[in-house]
């Protein structure tokens, strides 16, 4: 398994696509205080596929939302590239998400009134740009969507819908893509397909993906897994496999 994933190691010294420094997120106060993130410092390297794992309530989704500019930290910093997100207002964050970040959610990824191709180009059109046509074509071809472009989401299978979501995330050539349980609602065959496409996006298109998941099989597609518990990074693993991840999870008693 390790040998098939050796390609990234041969690349040039990787830069940091996103990172956090002492990031904390606290909900409530006093008695009811919950520390969802408790001083997390972590780097996400460019052109890598990173998985974030942890039990429910470990803070993995909160971490993703805060680095992606969907939520704000109580203290500490989150960076996309060199940009400190805490210094941005809502409008600037929106523009940042639109132009430099891609998203894949667990469900409800697509606007139901727009066709597949319109969903793919949505962020570009929101920015008033047409984007790199050749790039978009190659993304669509890679995702196997060429014959589904004029369909509305309701006419697509769950797997196809998630592939449209991946294509949309890729369409703007974002600095980084965040995926939140992207296969949570899919059967195992469609899951495998979508994950393979994401892997392909990193390997062949040089994209950067950070994915939250609780599925060891999904984590097995990543270059690196970060384990969270109680809002802290408790472990990490390079070149994971499904078995290795399962093993590690047993250790944490999940």
């Amino acid at each position: 398994m390790t040998s098939t994933l050796s390609a990234p190691v041969t690349r040039a010294e990787p830069t940091v696509a996103a990172r956090t420094a002492d990031a904390s997120k606290v909900y409530g106060r006093g008695q009811t205080e919950v520390r969802a993130l408790d001083g997390i410092t972590v780097d996400f390297l460019a052109q890598r596929f990173t998985a974030i794992m942890g039990p429910s309530g470990s803070g993995k989704s909160t971490l993703l939302h805060c680095i992606a500019g969907l939520d704000t930290l109580t203290s500490g910093h989150a960076y996309i590239g060199e940009q400190d997100l805490s210094s941005l207002n809502d409008h600037q964050l929106t523009i940042l998400r639109r132009d430099r970040v891609g998203f894949i959610f667990q469900a409800y990824n697509l606007v139901p009134t727009l066709t597949a191709i319109e969903n793919v180009t949505l962020p570009l059109r929101l920015a008033g740009r047409s984007g790199d046509r050749a790039w978009i074509d190659s993304v669509i071809t890679t995702m196997g969507l060429a014959d589904r472009l004029q369909h509305r989401p309701s006419e697509l299978s769950g797997g196809q819908q998630q592939r449209v979501a991946v294509a949309r995330a890729l369409a703007t050539k974002p600095q980084i893509i965040f995926a939140d349980e992207p296969t949570g609602n899919l059967d195992s065959r469609s899951s495998g397909e979508v994950l393979a496409f994401m892997r392909q996006a990193v390997d062949e298109m040089g994209q950067t993906i950070v994915m939250v998941t609780h599925d060891p099989r999904a984590a097995g597609f990543a270059d690196r897994v970060i384990f969270l518990a109680d809002g802290r990074v408790v472990d990490e693993m390079s070149d994971p496999t499904t078995d290795k991840v399962l093993e590690r999870m047993k250790l944490f008693g999940e």
Binding site: L70, T94, I95, R97, F105, Q106, L114, L126, G128
Partner: protein, 850 residues
């Protein structure tokens, strides 16, 4: 079950508030109208009771005939010689003559006061020194003692900036009179008798200037102590000649009160129509809200069914919710009604309709009517959604789908809608063109059915219409425009229901705009073709008022003038029905007013004959030489010979008398207008200047060229238009509330979608813009449907009124374009609250999976 309903109601405060507001506004309008009319009725009742409290018997002539358009009984005057005879009746303490006639007061600025053509009358009357018989109370100064002294009412003193000691002019019979204001009086405790401008002369001067010498309109009697009104009236009646009658003070009070009630009931109905329209629009909004919320609660209702609630209980819970919303909204509406009554009074006064109303009269009956209407409309609107809710199967609790059907309407629906629409169009046209006893009701019902029919068909046309209206948006607004259009198209049922509410208001605005515009164009047309002169002296005196005929004679003598003819107006009964007529000197009038004689001869038109419009003559089966029965207030029954039949009635109307015929049969000789044709080779400016040298001796008479005259004739329509716009405004505001409410509810459904859009980079302003444009599409849809209906209504009424002189059908494109723009703008405004709420939505709430 009841507590579940209550909790669900409290859980959706915003929804309830916005929905209830629609009903509240409608109920408030209705309650306000009722309060205002109750107040006016009470004011008049008190006024007449007060005015006649010292009068025991009134003697007057029998009614000769009823004037057209509810103008009331017309009667002649009684002989002054009756007074000594009445005084001799045992039990009579005082008997004296009362006088009413045309007298138009000129204000300090030289402009005549009052508006006798379209408003309250202008009256001249006599001062009575018998306190029991004098309805006026001096608030300043003293009674008139000489021929050139007058007392004026307090309202006119204010409007004309006249004070005790001022000298001014009064237009009366004969030359304008210079008079000195020696006193200012109230009528009972009102500033003026029902808004009328009143000039009070000495009895002798009044007889000479506003009535007839030796005649009185009434003889008012005070009884000696111990003699009852009934007994005295009986005694007096026994000495009266034929054609006169004696009424008790009680009877005349009741008669005056009931006449006013009749007049007020027209007014009441007029305002109530708009209140009902507002409630109806509120009902549409209510229906839409219930339909949406029932759909959103499908799972909740399924769960209740699964837990053992019966269909009947679910149905009941929705209806109870509707009842509570209706009850609360109506209660608030009734409370607001008092404020609305005051607002309506101010609105009417702003467009020139002065309402005498003192204090606020709130009757329990009024409250009950308004309350019941509010609750009934709300519950009626909830019936169909409630039935839909009751049909939810228990399994719906376990299913994911929500938000009900988004259907375009079944075949049956299209069929039902088409039938209703066809029935409406049929009823409307039948009412307008058919021979029906209650045309107004039929036309009203037809109009209502047309609105219902179109709104039933609404969801079927909503999709193509939204696509069409939104077509330019993607190009104009890019992806936000596209999203707006798609959102307006995604639930045609809902879009159609929101649009329907606006459609009603806009339909009526479009209709009235087209009708008024056509009426104005017709008048314009009629003046330019029927009036062949160049200048008009307009007194605004209306029927039975105006200026001394000497003015026309003096103008005719000017070298700059080729011809001048005074035009007199009056009411009479001709061929069995009360009607308006005009009169003038045949020798000059027909050189300035085109009538296109068809049969008979102008020269035959003498004191004992009349000229009739072609169509009228045909309807009545009259030909030249026919003997036509007529009744005049002054001369009673007469027979007139048809001497002339003419085919252009645009300026002449349906009946014309010769000047001699008018002089023979009418008491007051006034020219309501003087039509003038300038001499050949004289410029209009020169002719105007020449006429001015004469007309300036007649203050209050307006000197107008043809264009100004046309404008003067059409101006009242603009006033009417403004009033109706203002009254329809409420229905439109309610419809806009409906659009805002629908959008807010739709956005609640779309929370996750909104979050997704925001997550992938839609800015708040782009989101607001998308919602704004969606709202504009809905608003324009209602506007387009409304205007189509409005054009149809306008066309049918104009066509139906062709015989009444509305000969031109005109669609004022510019005005209608303004309506469209305002609707689009209003759609944007309606979208402000929901779009702000949407923009504030937490992005995370949307994207985090539950």
């Amino acid at each position: 079950m009841f507590s579940t309903t209550l909790k669900s109601l409290l859980a959706h405060k915003f929804r309830m508030l916005a929905t209830a507001m629609a009903v509240t506004l409608g109920v408030a309008f209705m309650a306000g109208t009722l309060v205002l009319t109750d107040t006016m009725r009470q004011t008049f009742d008190n006024l007449f009771a007060d005015v006649y409290k010292g009068t025991d018997v009134v003697v007057r002539a029998h009614a000769a005939f009823e004037a057209p358009q509810g103008g009331g009984a017309q009667r002649g005057r009684v002989d002054a010689a009756l007074i000594p005879r009445i005084r001799a009746v045992p039990g009579v303490s005082v008997a004296e003559g009362g006088i009413f006639g045309y007298a138009r007061l000129v204000g300090k600025n030289g402009k005549a006061l009052g508006n006798p053509t379209n408003g309250a009358p202008v009256l001249g009357t006599a001062w009575s020194d018998t306190p029991a018989l004098n309805p006026f109370n001096l608030v300043q100064g003293s009674p008139p003692r000489t021929d050139n002294e007058v007392v004026i009412d307090k309202k006119s003193a204010g409007d004309g900036h006249l004070a005790v000691g001022d000298t001014t002019t009064v237009l009366v019979l004969g030359p304008p009179q210079r008079v000195r204001v020696v006193g200012i009086a109230k009528f009972g405790n009102a500033d003026s008798p029902g808004g009328a401008t009143t000039v009070i002369f000495t009895r002798a001067a009044a007889q000479r200037l506003v009535a007839e010498p030796g005649k009185f309109d009434t003889i008012d009697v005070v009884a000696a102590p111990g003699v009852s009104q009934t007994e005295l009236a009986r005694r007096i009646a026994s000495v009266l000649p034929d054609g006169t009658e004696a009424l008790t003070g009680k009877a005349i009070t009741a008669e005056s009160q009931s006449a006013i009630r009749k007049a007020l009931s027209f007014f009441n109905t007029f305002l109530l129509i708009f209140a009902v329209i507002a409630l109806l629009v509120g009902g549409f909004m209510m229906f839409n809200t219930f339909a949406i919320t029932v759909a959103q609660r499908t799972r909740e209702n399924g769960l209740l069914r699964a837990l053992g609630a019966s269909r009947r209980q679910i149905l009941g819970s929705v209806l109870i919710e509707a009842f509570l919303v209706g009850l609360i909204a109506s209660l608030v509406g009734i409370a607001a009604g008092v404020g609305v009554a005051i607002g309506l009074k101010n609105l009417l006064s702003a467009v020139g309709v002065e309402i005498p109303a003192q204090g606020v009269v709130v009757r329990p009956g009024t409250e009950v009517i308004a309350l019941a209407m509010g609750i009934v409309v709300t519950m009626a609107a909830a019936v169909s959604p409630a039935r839909k809710a009751a049909k939810v199967p228990p399994i719906a609790a376990m299913q994911l789908g929500m938000a009900g059907s988004t259907g375009y309407g079944s075949k049956q629906r299209v069929l039902v809608g088409s039938v209703v629409l066809a029935a409406g169009v049929g009823a409307l046209l039948w009412g307008l063109f058919g021979d029906v006893s209650q045309p107004v009701r039929l036309v009203g019902a037809g109009a209502l059915l047309v609105f219902f029919g179109v709104s039933i068909l609404g969801r079927t046309v909503a999709l193509p219409l939204s696509r069409l209206i939104g077509a330019p948006l993607p190009r104009l607004r890019g992806i936000t425009g596209e999203i707006a259009r798609e959102n307006a198209m995604r639930n045609p049922k809902r879009t159609a229901a929101s649009a329907s509410a606006l459609m009603i208001g806009v339909g009526l605005v479009g209709f009235i705009t087209i009708f008024v515009s056509s009426a104005k164009a017709s008048i314009d047309d009629s003046i330019s073709s029927g009036f062949t002169g160049d200048i008009v002296l307009d007194t605004g005196g209306g029927v039975g008022g105006g200026v001394d005929p000497a003015l026309a004679e003096r103008v005719a003598k000017l070298p700059e003038v080729a011809a001048a003819a005074g035009l007199r107006q009056g009411v009479a009964q001709i061929g069995g029905s009360g009607t308006f007529l005009q009169a003038g000197d045949p020798a000059t009038l027909f050189s300035i007013m085109r009538i296109d004689p068809r049969a008979g001869s102008v020269d035959d038109l003498d004191a004992n004959s009349l000229a009739v419009y072609d169509q009228t003559a045909r309807d009545k089966h009259w030909t030249i030489g026919s003997q036509v029965p007529a009744v005049f207030a002054k001369t009673g029954p007469r027979t007139l010979r048809v001497a002339l039949i003419y085919s252009d009635n645009t300026q002449a109307g349906n009946y014309l008398l010769s000047r001699s015929g008018y002089e023979a049969n009418f008491a007051g000789q006034f020219d309501s207008r003087v039509l003038i044709k300038k001499a050949p080779g004289v410029s209009t400016a020169a002719a105007l200047a020449a006429v001015r040298t004469v007309s300036r001796d007649y203050p209050g008479v307006e000197l107008l060229d043809k264009a100004q005259y046309t404008h003067n004739q059409t101006a009242p329509f603009d006033q009417l238009l403004a009033l109706i716009y203002a009254l329809l405004g409420l229905a439109i505001v309610i419809a806009l509330l409906g659009i805002a409410n629908t959008l807010a509810l739709s956005i609640t459904e779309r929370t996750r979608e909104v979050g997704l859009l925001r997550a992938v980079g839609m800015t708040r302003s782009q989101l607001r813009s998308a919602i704004r444009w969606e709202s504009v599409i809905i608003a324009l849809q209602g506007t387009v449907l409304g205007l189509v209906i409005g054009v149809f209504f306008g066309w049918s009424l104009v066509a139906a009124m062709h015989d009444q002189g509305i000969t031109v059908f005109r669609i004022p494109l510019l005005s209608l374009l303004v309506v469209v723009l305002i609707a689009a703008l209003a759609g944007m405004v309606a979208a402000v609250p929901p779009s702000r709420r949407a923009a504030r939505l937490d992005v995370l709430r949307a994207v985090v999976s539950d």
